[in-house]
Amino acid sequence: MWDNFDQVSLLLLVLVPLAGAVLAMFLPKDRPRDAWQFAIFVAAICFVLSVIVFLRYDYAAGGVQLAREYDWIGHPLNITLDLGLNGIGAPLVLLNGIVLLGAVLISQTITRRSRDFFVLLLALGSGVFGVFIVRDLFFLFFFYELAVLPMYLLIGVWGSSTDFGTFLRTKEYGAMKLMLVLVAGSVLIWIGILALYVASSESGAPTFNIDDLAQLQQAGEFSRTLELWVFPLFAVGFGILAGLWPFHTWSPDGHVAAPTGVSMLHAGVLMKLGAFGIIQVGMILTPTGAEVWMPVLIGLGTVNVIYGAISALSQNDLKYVIGYSSVSHMGYVLMGIATLHPVGLAGAVLQMFSHGIMTALMFAMVGAIYERSHIRDSLILNGLIKRMGVTTFFFAIAGLASLGLPGLSGFIAEFMVFTGAFRTYLPLAVLGVIGAAITAVYILRLLARSFFGEADPQWDHLTDASPVEKGVGAAFVIILIAVGVWPAPLLNVINTGVESALAVF
Amino acid sequence: MVPLLYFQLLGAALFGIGLYGVLARRSAVLIVLSIELMLNAVNINLIAAASYLNGIGRFDAFDGQIIAIFVITVAAAEVGLAFAIILRMYRNRGTVNVDEINILKW
């Protein structure tokens, strides 16, 4: 029975949310609750699918599994919808399944035009799934753009504008910047893809298929100069989505503007697309370029870590703090990738997973607070623990995970990144460790300032997390702890993926 | 026999004059007339070329004349159409001065 299912599982993974989005269009316009429940239904199916797919991935065998090829455009472009899961994609698929469900559940509070909201959200989910499981550059790009496309409306329509006194961040601005910056990144990616295609067609076998291109590369069909200028295109293009400094500002401002569910997906999975792309495309298809450019990338990654952490120090808006901490944590991912070292790379992938869960949890909780108080300013908020004990508890756990507390997933991931970096770029690795210490400072400041302490009477009206929020939070916390205590199930899969990824060097 | 080049120079001159007219004139009517001038330059070119080709014994020589006739016809139609629209403009705005015809810009 499973074998038949494996034939279609990946295709379903992409089609289910897409179909869900299409069907959702035909829901009644003015019944938000129905839309929500329908979205939950779809997201739940996706979640189950992602779990099954993850479990079906046999890490002992390794390589690309559940592969399935569908003809799309034949000669002369030779584009095929070529699905297949590798050890790096598998955990991220799982991650997306989890976060998508969580985000949909959290979005209970969306009442205005909620149908459209969930349509876009599901479309986004489909795009993300797609990127993680395709083996063809055209479709990788296709799904990549599909994942970015809905963000504009999701933020622009359902977001919120904030006046910070000295400056203003409108949702229009946030959405527009996010969209344009990300698409600017994809411009680079697109050019890179075309360059590789041209190279392949010059070698007589025009193709967009990642594996075929990788073989061509191994066969030495790509000139060194080509790889030298194509890799930066991928590194920066995908890197932008991963919050690579100095192209990161779209991310915090996007968060500030975005509604909770969108923030969760944005920081939870969207930013992972970028890192995944660097590995899947940049590293595997242009290893020569990668080897040459990695020192630069790890340098930038370190800048991300320190820079993000330090700028988070002086932020007062909860979402800004988390946004910059995301920038900082994606820095670890970039560092890990740039080590080109098994442990470091595995750490990077694990960090993607753990950061996805962690930051999604944080945004969920901040969203819960914002829903009730309509404030995100940590200078005004205080003593939240009094009225919102559970929320505080979950937020604290997420915060501890992000400052790399052992026993929570963040620690193992960062630790592995450090080990990898120590093997390759020792001084930068030390800086990375210091960054983790700075993280502790701003997280604890935030906790001490807004969550602990005596509560003003003005917060007496606040109510604690709703059952749904509690459920999501609890689930995420459990995952954080589980991965922190027993990462082996994830790492077994990741290791095989890393092995094959590094095989090209 | 006068070499082809002379005719072509004449045509070019005429074409240039027409073009100048188009650029320099401010009355829509005169602009259209200048364009007619350019079309006549075309005709001169064509006929000259045709007879020249005939001279060197090219087979399908008299295409030129035929084309010229077509051009004349089309030109006539064009002028008619143009004047019709200009007339409509004159009715509405009371001017055919292209300096004043610029509601639509940028």
């Binding site: 409306l153 904030t162 914002y370 | 072509q8 403009m89």
Partner: protein, 518 residues
């Protein structure tokens, strides 16, 4: 070649039929009372469909020449015929309500439309410069009139005047080029030209001027920079359906001619093409750059679409520039792009018309809050714009990817780069429209969100949350015809975006018919 002017004449039945129908419409129009002129639209649609069927039925095996090679009936022509007829149907569907409410003499309107379609069909089939020119003029004359159709509207008149003056000018230039080519080569047949050019002796200033001026003429029809300046004015002034028609029909027709001309006359002459390829590439580059950049600054919707269409012409031209290297790929890319562009634009214009029919306004800012007032219209426009911007899952993405891949493969990666960059620019102004429709509220004074935060129930000094504005005044839903057009269009757009293969098959057949002989 001269033998048998009437052989295979039956193959022209579609064109004859079309001519007859046009006259029929004119005639019937004389006798129909004003209120029942809808029938003319119906008649035209039915007849167009009928002609389509006839054309398909009479498809010859391979390509057949008529009139001693003036006109050829082949798959390429057939494909574009069907394409044009389809566009005609779309435009009529678009203009139905509009014509009823806002145009006089709409009988002639449909008649002119039919004539212009006839012109386009002949254009796609003509294999000789003069024939091409005549067909072009047939198309242009109808358009001149249609643009100026708003009799009482100064804008419409002005658009007409500018259009016809520049049009006449460029046709004069084109003819001058034609005459030079004739003088240099002694022939005006595409095939003949390529044969003459094959001999290196052919190269001469006169010839070069001839080709150059020919290109200028085409450039005008394509509204390629720097011959584009008429386009924004004409688009803005013309009645909406005509604007749509300009954007979709005349461009497609001009490209049909360009493709055939380059394929059969110029590309085979390798040395000449070698010179011209770069020119075309540069034209393409500046066209997409200028079009998209200027579009950023537009306030009027029609004008915006004009500049955006200029930009898209640039993309297609980029495809033309690499026709020489891998013809099959490039031609397919260009034609595919044209079709997608046409369908997408049809959707967008249908949406704009649906809005215009209700409010009679065509500034971008007027669309504010459309998403609440006409959700489906807004969605249609949005999807259309996303597709034009080249975002998946819509046809625009696939088409752009295909075309740019072809351009890159043709050895012009830099051109592809420019194209990709400018499509990023285009995204910006498309998003501006989206923003009006989805984010802004109708009663929105400035774009400063802080302005209306002041009166907000949680008003503390540090942070404000902006809440949803009150829903906009309701607006009657679009007519079923327009809604249907949009619906069908959206389906096609999505379908082409997700599974373009069948269409590409047809395009392959079409492009095979005009593979360069050289």
């Amino acid at each position: 070649m001269e033998t048998g002017l009437t052989t295979n004449l039956h193959l022209l039945t579609p064109e004859f039929a079309l001519t007859a129908l046009a006259f029929l419409v004119f005639t019937v129009d004389l006798f129909l009372p004003e209120r029942s002129k809808e029938w003319l639209a119906g008649l035209s649609v039915v007849s167009l469909v009928a002609v389509m069927v006839v054309a398909l039925v009479m498809r010859p095996a391979g390509s057949v020449e008529l009139y001693g090679g003036l006109i050829v009936v082949d798959d390429f022509g057939l494909f574009f015929k069907i394409f044009f007829l389809g566009i005609g149907v779309g435009i009529i569907a678009l203009s139905w309500e509009y014509a009823r409410d806002r145009l006089q003499h709409r009988g002639e309107f449909y008649g002119l439309l039919l004539f212009s379609i006839l012109g386009m069909n002949l254009l796609a089939m003509s294999r000789e410069l003069l024939t091409a020119y005549i067909s072009l003029e047939l198309l242009s004359f109808s358009l001149y009139v249609m643009v100026a159709y708003g009799l009482r509207e100064a804008r419409s008149n002005e658009a007409g005047i500018k259009y016809i003056i520049i049009g006449a000018l460029s046709s004069a230039i084109m003819l001058y080029g034609l005459s030079n080519i004739y003088a240099a080569l002694g022939t005006t047949y595409f095939v003949g030209i390529s044969e003459e050019l094959a001999s290196p002796a052919a190269a001469s200033p006169v010839l070069w001027i001839g080709v150059a001026l020919l290109v200028v003429g085409l450039g005008f029809k394509l509204s390629a920079v720097p011959f584009h300046m008429w386009a924004p004015d004409a688009y803005e002034g013309a009645p909406l359906p005509v604007t749509a028609y300009l954007a979709i029909g005349s461009k497609a027709a001009a490209f049909a001619l360009t493709l055939r001309l380059f394929a059969e006359a110029i590309i085979p002459a390798v040395n000449l093409w070698g010179e011209w390829q770069l020119v075309i590439a540069v034209l393409a580059a500046i066209t997409m750059l200028l079009g998209n950049l200027v579009a950023l600054a537009q306030r009027n919707l029609k004008r915006l679409m004009a500049y955006s269409s200029i930009g898209h012409v640039g993309y297609a031209l980029a495809g033309v520039a690499v026709l020489g290297s891998d013809f099959a790929l490039a031609a397919k890319g260009v034609i595919f792009y044209l079709v997608v562009y046409a369908v997408t634009n049809l959707v967008v214009f249908a949406g704009i018309t649906a809005y215009y029919n209700r409010e009679g306004k065509d500034d971008i800012a007027d669309l504010a809050g459309l998403a609440d007032r006409q959700p489906f219209t807004a969605a249609a426009i949005a999807i259309g714009l996303f597709s034009l911007a080249g975002l998946p899952i819509f046809a625009g993405f696939t088409a752009k990817f295909y075309l740019f891949a072809a351009v890159a493969d043709g050895g012009m990666l830099w051109l592809a780069g420019v194209a990709i960059f400018t499509s990023l620019v285009s995204l910006y102004y498309y998003l501006q429209v989206m923003r009006q429709m989805y984010i802004e509220s109708p009663a929105h004074d400035t774009h400063n969100a802080a302005a209306h935060q002041a009166h907000d129930e949680h008003d503390d000094i540090h942070q404000h949350a902006v809440h949803d504005e009150p829903p906009a005044p309701p607006m009657p839903r679009p007519s079923w015809l327009l809604a249907g057009t949009m619906g069908v269009g959206l389906l096609v757009v999505t379908w082409l975006g997700v599974y373009p293969r069948p269409l590409l098959g047809l395009i392959e057949m079409a492009s095979k018919a005009i593979v360069p002989l050289g």
